[in-house]
Symmetry: C2
Subunit: 130 residues, 2 copies
């Protein structure tokens, strides 16, 4: 029963875990770093997300370590997790592309007579979300 709608927070947790297993606090820092400071995943959000992702089988507990007296609980992506993240990335890229294309269309409609011939970005009308 996986594949409910993936939330933004879940997407970034999966992304942070995509290259290697990480523990909660490490995920927090990694999300901030990989988004160049744009996305700040909050502590209060994290554990709920982790629980849901584990329940959905997208991540599993990899191992537990005690580093310098502090417990670290490492999680890693499952195969389903990789697939779900990949699919979501695809959907996002498609959505972003659709938005960009339509913005251009909107500008063309209002634009002051553009002489430059527009290359056909998409053939049909619904030319490219999925």
């Amino acid at each position: 029963m996986a594949s409910r709608n993936m939330t933004r927070a879940a997407f970034f947790v999966l992304t942070a875990l995509a290259d290697q297993p990480r523990h909660g606090y490490g995920i927090l820092r990694e999300v901030e770093e990989l988004s160049d400071g744009e996305v700040q995943l909050r502590v209060g959000t994290l554990y709920g997300v982790l629980d849901r992702l584990a329940a959905d089988g997208l991540i599993v507990l990899d191992r537990e370590e005690v580093q310098q007296g502090r417990l670290r609980r490492y999680y890693r992506l499952t195969e389903d997790g990789v697939a779900a993240l990949d699919a979501e990335a695809e959907r996002m890229a498609a959505g972003a592309g659709a938005a960009k294309r339509r913005i251009a269309e909107g500008r063309r409609a209002t634009a002051p007579a553009d002489t430059t011939p527009q290359p056909p970005t998409a053939p049909g009308l619904a030319g490219g979300f999925a």
Copy 2:
């Protein structure tokens, strides 16, 4: 005080309005069409989103028409709306790219000795969200 975190529903409403003004029900159909049936914006979601977007100044009421005895309330994007949608599309594309790149990194780490030299997708570590 615009620019709170844009929700998925809001993103798709803005995208549907990006090429031309549309009325509520038309937005519903357009979102479904532009996403090739993948995204179904619900009626119960729509009007709340419309209100919030209008309050944030991202859309405005364009005009009201009575077509075949039925009221149609058309909305259109403001300049802020176009900018917000554009920025969000950029963020999504960057996020999708980051996820894809990291999935590839993860595979490389587990892969059975890949001989094909990997082209340097990104220079730095945080090489490309924003």
